[in-house]
């Protein structure tokens, strides 16, 4: 990882200090210093059909846990300890994928179709459509609509960086959120509630902020950011899952 002896010594000191003070600034610094390791390990799992971006996030959660749990008194290097924790987190991610990956092709197709229908019906009606309205438009039963939405919620069979059903012209979310909104750069409010939020990608922080702090509906967020409602739903679900996972561990 390109860390030389002197740096290693310095990091070790910082871990001792952190174990003692639990200073958040120091914690950030320790995490920063090892992000390369998280990314490196994420790459090793990138041939399994999951977007690298998602894997780096999963690995970062593992890194966070490692920093919080590492005991510098133990005769083991942090990088060894962290590798173990991060790989564990990545493996858990793949294990937890569960049935979503095996969602029937028919459901996957219906989910993709519904993304477009939600967008077009919302525009047509000037409000968020009901489930029966979606079912009628898609010519399937309500149960099938609900099943497909639940399957899609797991976000796993569609990359968050790929064009989402209903997105215009296939612009990827990442490119649309490239410009920072000055209002959103002010992350103090969010950070005060939970430092974990600041670990999420910028675009997800922004969506969380709009939904939970500004009180915009998912449709309004979709319209403001020029992406589909479905994409907003999926990103919110993923962000909350990651916050829970991270919170669970930092609370002990």
């Amino acid at each position: 990882m390109g860390i030389d002896g002197a740096q290693r010594q310095e990091l070790r000191q910082k871990f001792v200090q952190f174990a003692d003070t639990r200073d958040p600034a120091l914690r950030d610094e320790l995490i920063e210093a090892h992000l390369g390791l998280a990314e490196y390990l994420a790459r090793r799992f990138s041939n399994r059909g999951e977007p690298l971006d998602d894997l780096v996030q999963v690995a970062s959660v593992g890194l966070l846990k490692a920093v919080d749990r590492f005991d510098p008194e133990r005769a083991v290097e942090f990088s060894t300890y962290a590798t173990h924790t991060i790989v564990g987190e990545l493996k858990r991610h793949f294990r937890d994928k569960g049935w979503a990956v095996r969602a029937p092709r028919r459901m996957q197709e219906l989910y993709l179709r519904l993304g477009k229908i939600v967008s077009s019906l919302s525009q047509e009606l000037g409000r968020s459509p009901t489930i029966p309205e979606l079912a009628t438009e898609a010519q399937v039963s309500e149960e099938e609509v609900l099943e497909a939405l639940e399957a899609g919620r797991a976000y796993r069979f569609a990359s968050l960086d790929a064009p989402s059903p209903g997105d215009e012209e296939g612009d990827s979310l990442a490119s649309q959120l490239g410009d920072e909104d000055p209002q959103m750069v002010d992350a103090e409010h969010r950070a005060a509630l939970s430092p974990l939020i600041t670990r999420l990608p910028q675009r997800e922080q922004r969506i969380l902020h709009l939904r939970f702090f500004e009180g915009l509906t998912q449709s309004e967020i979709a319209a403001r950011l020029g992406i589909s409602q479905m994409h907003v739903s999926r990103l919110l679900a993923r962000s909350l899952a990651q916050l829970r996972s991270a919170a669970d561990d930092s609370d002990g």
Partner: protein
């Protein structure tokens, strides 16, 4: 309809079964005329409260859910039946509270009869 409609569901207290809690809720919400946006919000709210109950990895025992549908609303109560229960209400972070406030009209975490950790939520259909 004169009688109160109610649905009960008992699932193992592990994450993979929360799917059933969500599907039941969204099925009932759809039946009550909730919109796509509201249904998606409901899903997030249920996860937030159920995970507060069982922890992110789940635990031994069951979650008992009760769904009621008063006019224009959906009310859900969930309580944990855990063999190794600590008699404390589910813990919610400040952030979780902020999230839930945005997602549902009312919610609470508490200790139910018999010392079971429990939650309840209420989501109203706008204009209903």
């Amino acid at each position: 309809m004169a009688t109160q409609e109610e649905v009960r569901l008992v699932v193992p207290a592990t994450p993979e079964f929360l799917r059933l809690a969500r599907v039941t809720a969204t099925g009932l919400a759809s039946r009550s005329g909730f919109s796509y946006d509201e249904v998606e919000d409901l899903r997030l709210a249920i996860d937030e409260l159920c995970f507060a109950l069982i922890g992110s990895r789940g635990r031994e025992g069951t979650v008992n859910l009760r769904y009621a549908m008063p006019e224009g609303a959906l009310e859900i109560e969930g309580s944990g039946d855990f063999p190794t229960a600590t008699a404390t209400p589910p813990a919610l972070s400040e952030l979780s509270r902020q999230i839930l406030t945005a997602l549902v009209d009312d919610y609470d975490v508490y200790l139910a009869d018999g010392g079971h950790p429990a939650f309840r939520l209420r989501k109203q259909r706008p204009g209903a």
